[in-house]
């Protein structure tokens, strides 16, 4: 498909451009690698919220370098691949944008040095992956699964934010460099809460049991997205976080037990599920889960061997998983099918795809001389003794799945009828699998290339030095276990066709999720029915009752000093008398114009009081506002029909009661406020500096336009938006009346 659409298009050009940028970033990382390995970390700082100690700061240390290199390198190949895979999609430009934003978010996440910065990028990856998973937005399933992925990961993200803030309290800084060198948080009284919250975030992102269900569902995404999200990025973010915070949080019983249980259960469960899938993509998705489980399992420990094993396996997995997803996508693209049972003998039509599939699958199966072999040997060397058997089982299952995914479709008799005549993919789609497959071989033959980076990264954990990567480590237990793996895996491969799952129905966790969402929705409906009745009188009743009662309860609890002082000059008494009369007039049930006049009288009384106490600006403003209110009330209220009492006596009594409560609470607040002498500090400052700093004698106006100009600007926006908002609301009414 790719080769016959050679015509130039802008969105394809965007795909190539994005690939070029990703490769350029990769090259830049490569150029910085020397500095990282010699100095430990390259830093970059920008003050963001200095008052809270939050900075937009970044750090490139060996651990971040591993992840960043995978993100940009594989990212570049993915962009190339996507251009071949779906370059003629009408919305391919949008796709490239989403994928590029995702890559940058991911890069920001692994490079962030400030926890809050890290969190922002963490949520950005959730958001952009939502857009990517739901890219086929006309498919309701894609929309649902995208939403599920976002709710699970962003929900975990909220827990993570709380955890980060607690870390900030416990360590006294959000700066990772400070936190990691501060000797750990294991003894902090907040440790339990921090660990729980951080693990919630990491486990949701990295799809550990019981949050694993979103990841296989995320397969609704176009294949390039799956290849990227599942190999080097999204799901690795949780692993990255665990690795990043390992020095600060690990080493306790809680850390070891939780990570071991979650990781072990996920790895075993996922590898069993993987071999039962008919859909090649689903099978790969479950092996991703298995890999994540293994990574979490090994991060539970703190020995140099275990950490080396985790990081090596991370690289192994990223290389082969991206390649295999791209292969599966190419098969899907070339034949129109991803069904394990239908595909066979494709090597004749797709020879290059078959070769790259073989390269990747051999690494996945852990055969020598590939990097996968070294990774598996390290896993066996580093595993806790009582977990040897589960790990053996998981590895054997993955061995079998590698055969199912990468051998079955390409070998054997020619295929039966398929939706499309099988054909080889274009060069853009072949570049990724070939490069990554060859990389797995090259690193396997020359593990020394990775050694310095792994050494530095493991040293960063503060653990024992890294284990050495050897293709041949001598005759030892891992070697024996490897052979056991191959034997068991071979048997499972032969038995695989009989293990296929019957249906493709939702898993138990997935059904629970749906029930949870449905419950939430019906709870919201109930709440809405009670509170949001749509009747103005109900809203007013609830608002005023709440405001009045909350105030009264607070006052009763705090018991503030109340100033009751009736001494006032005569003019004030006269004004107060007028205001009382106005208030009474506002309550008369006979005439709306009398009500408006009453309210106006009260307002003008207030303006006069301002004037008497020497605040002419406020008084004039109050007067103007009163006039305008009268105008607005007049326009609105005088169009209403005459007042007729329709409330029942009980309802009237209720309204009188609410009015009494609100009136009482406001009165008490005023008495409490006037009991204290006003704080003159600000007033003195403005009096002293109004003319010298702002060249103005009218302090009120100087405050408005100079000292507090930004606030005024906000208020202006509100005034204007209120006007426009009212216009928009009423406009609908006008339109309806005319139409």
């Amino acid at each position: 498909m790719a080769q016959d659409k050679s015509g130039f298009s802008l969105s394809r050009a965007a795909g190539y451009l994005a690939a070029a940028v990703a490769f350029a970033l990769f090259a830049a990382l490569f150029a910085l690698a020397g500095a990282v390995l010699t100095t430990g970390a390259v830093l970059f700082d920008l003050a963001w919220v200095p008052s809270l100690g939050i900075g937009l700061s970044f750090m490139l240390d060996p651990l971040a370098l591993i992840f960043a290199a995978l993100i940009t390198g594989i990212g570049g190949l993915i962009f190339l691949y996507a251009t071949g895979y779906m370059g003629d999609h009408p919305q391919f430009g949008r796709f490239v944008l989403f994928l590029f934003l995702f890559m940058l978010s991911m890069l920001g996440l692994v490079l962030a040095r400030d926890l809050i910065t890290l969190f922002v990028f963490w949520e950005l990856t959730s958001l952009t992956s939502y857009l990517l998973i739901g890219f086929s937005h006309d498919d309701p399933k894609a929309r649902r699964n995208a939403l599920q992925a976002m709710l699970v990961t962003a929900g975990g993200g909220l827990a993570l934010l709380a955890g980060f803030i607690l870390i900030g309290f416990a360590a006294g800084s959000y700066d990772l460099a400070v936190i990691l060198q501060g000797g750990g948080l294991q003894t902090s009284p907040l440790y339990g809460a921090i660990l729980t919250l951080v693990l919630l975030g990491a486990f949701t992102k990295s799809a550990q049991i019981p949050f694993h269900f979103w990841l296989p569902n995320a397969m609704a995404a176009p294949t390039p997205v799956s290849a990227y999200l599942h190999s080097a990025t999204m799901v690795k973010a949780g692993v990255y976080l665990l690795a990043r915070l390992h020095p600060a949080l690990s080493g306790t019983g809680a850390w070891e037990i939780t990570l071991t249980l979650a990781g072990g259960a996920t790895a075993l469960f996922a590898s069993v599920m993987a071999i039962r899938q008919r859909d090649l993509k689903q099978a790969l998705a479950w092996t991703t889960l298995m890999a994540l489980g293994v990574l979490v399992l090994f991060l539970a420990q703190g020995t140099g061997v275990a950490l080396t094993a985790a990081l090596t396996f991370l690289i192994v997995h990223a290389l082969y998983k991206a390649a295999l997803f791209m292969v599966v996508g190419a098969v899907d693209h070339g034949t129109g099918s991803r069904d394990v049972t239908a595909l066979r003998g494709l090597r004749r039509a797709m020879p290059l795809t078959a070769v790259s599939a073989l390269l990747a699958a051999v690494s996945m199966a852990g055969l020598p001389p590939f990097l996968g072999w070294i990774g598996k040997e390290l896993l066996y060397a580093g595993v806790t003794p009582w977990l040897v058997l589960p790990l053996l089982a998981a590895n054997a299952l993955i061995f079998a799945v590698a055969g199912v995914v990468a051998l079955r479709p390409f070998w054997g008799a020619p295929p039966g009828p398929l939706p499309r005549e099988p054909h080889e993919a274009g060069w853009q789609m072949l570049a990724g699998p070939v490069v990554l497959g060859v990389a797995g071989l090259v690193f396997g033959l020359m593990p020394g290339l990775l050694q310095p980076l792994l050494d530095a990264a493991v040293m960063g954990f503060g653990a024992a030095p890294a284990a050495e990567l050897h293709l041949w480590a001598g005759v030892n237990l891992p070697l024996a276990l490897s052979f056991a793996t191959f034997g068991l895996g071979g048997l499972l491969f032969l038995a695989a066709p009989r293990l296929l799952a019957r249906g493709t129905d939702l898993s138990f966790a997935d059904r629970c999720w749906d029930r949870l969402l449905a419950g939430l929705a019906s709870f919201a409906t109930c709440l809405t029915r009670v509170i949001q009745s749509g009747r103005l009188s109900r809203y007013l009743t609830l608002s005023f009752l709440t405001a009045g009662l909350v105030t009264l309860v607070t006052l009763a609890a705090k018991r503030p000093l109340l100033a009751v002082d009736f001494t006032a000059p005569l003019p004030l008494w006269v004004i107060a008398g007028f205001m009382l009369g106005g208030a009474a007039l506002a309550l008369t049930p006979h005439s709306r114009i009398a009500n408006i006049a009453g309210i106006g009288t009260v307002g003008i009384g207030v303006a006069l009081i301002f004037l008497i106490f020497g605040a002419p600006d406020v008084a004039v403003t109050q007067l103007m506002v009163e006039c305008l209110s009268a105008v607005l009330f007049g326009i609105a209220l005088l169009r209403l029909p005459g007042i007729t009492e329709r409330r029942s006596p009980r309802r009237r009594a209720l309204h009188w009661g609410i009015a009494g409560i609100v009136g009482l609470s406001v009165t008490l607040i005023l008495l409490a406020i006037t009991a204290h002498p006003p704080d003159r500090q600000l007033a003195t400052y403005f009096e002293e500096n109004s003319f010298s700093l702002a060249h103005g004698l009218n302090i009120v106006n100087v405050i408005l336009v100079d000292f507090r100009a930004f606030d005024t600007f906000g208020e202006l926006t509100v005034v204007l938006l209120a006007g426009i908002g009212a216009w928009a609301l009423l406009k609908r009414r006008i339109g309806r009346a005319r139409g």
Binding site: T621, M624, L628, H695, G696, F713, L720, G723, L730
Partner: protein, 137 residues
């Protein structure tokens, strides 16, 4: 119920209101007044025209949609605030051109912005109420 006397009076009053509003606006920095009060006064002038002569007459005299007027005001205030930030000060810091007779400053521009935004916001609301009243009966 249109009264020709009131309508004519309102048309004569409007320039007075506007002139007074400008006066209040310009004296605001040293004596009671300022953009906010001035904006309310000007809006009141138009409100009288609306009452006496109907919203159409008021619209003709305003010549510009009140929402646009408010927007222009907001932009003025933003320029005043951003200009200070661009010239090295804090955002919304007052910058004075030290001329001998005319005390020009970004603060004045800001106050003019306040003036226009208040007129725009209030009149948008009044016009909308008037229109909906006419349409809804």
């Amino acid at each position: 119920m249109r009264s020709p006397i009131l309508a004519t009076g309102a048309r004569l009053l409007l320039p007075l209101f506007l002139g007074f509003a400008l006066y209040i606006l310009l004296r605001g920095h040293n004596a009671p007044g300022g953009g906010f009060i001035a904006g309310l006064i000007a809006a009141l002038g138009f409100a009288i025209v609306i009452f006496a002569d109907g919203p159409e007459a008021a619209r003709r005299m305003l010549r510009i949609d009140p929402r646009s007027l408010g927007g222009i005001g907001l932009v003025c205030a933003l320029i005043a605030g951003g200009g200070a930030a661009l010239s090295g000060g804090a955002p919304f810091q007052g910058i004075w051109l030290d001329l001998p007779v005319l005390p020009l400053s970004t603060v004045l521009l800001f106050d003019i912005g306040v003036f226009l935004a208040v007129i725009g916001g209030v009149l948008a609301l009044i016009f909308a109420l008037e229109d909906s009243g006419k349409a809804g009966g």
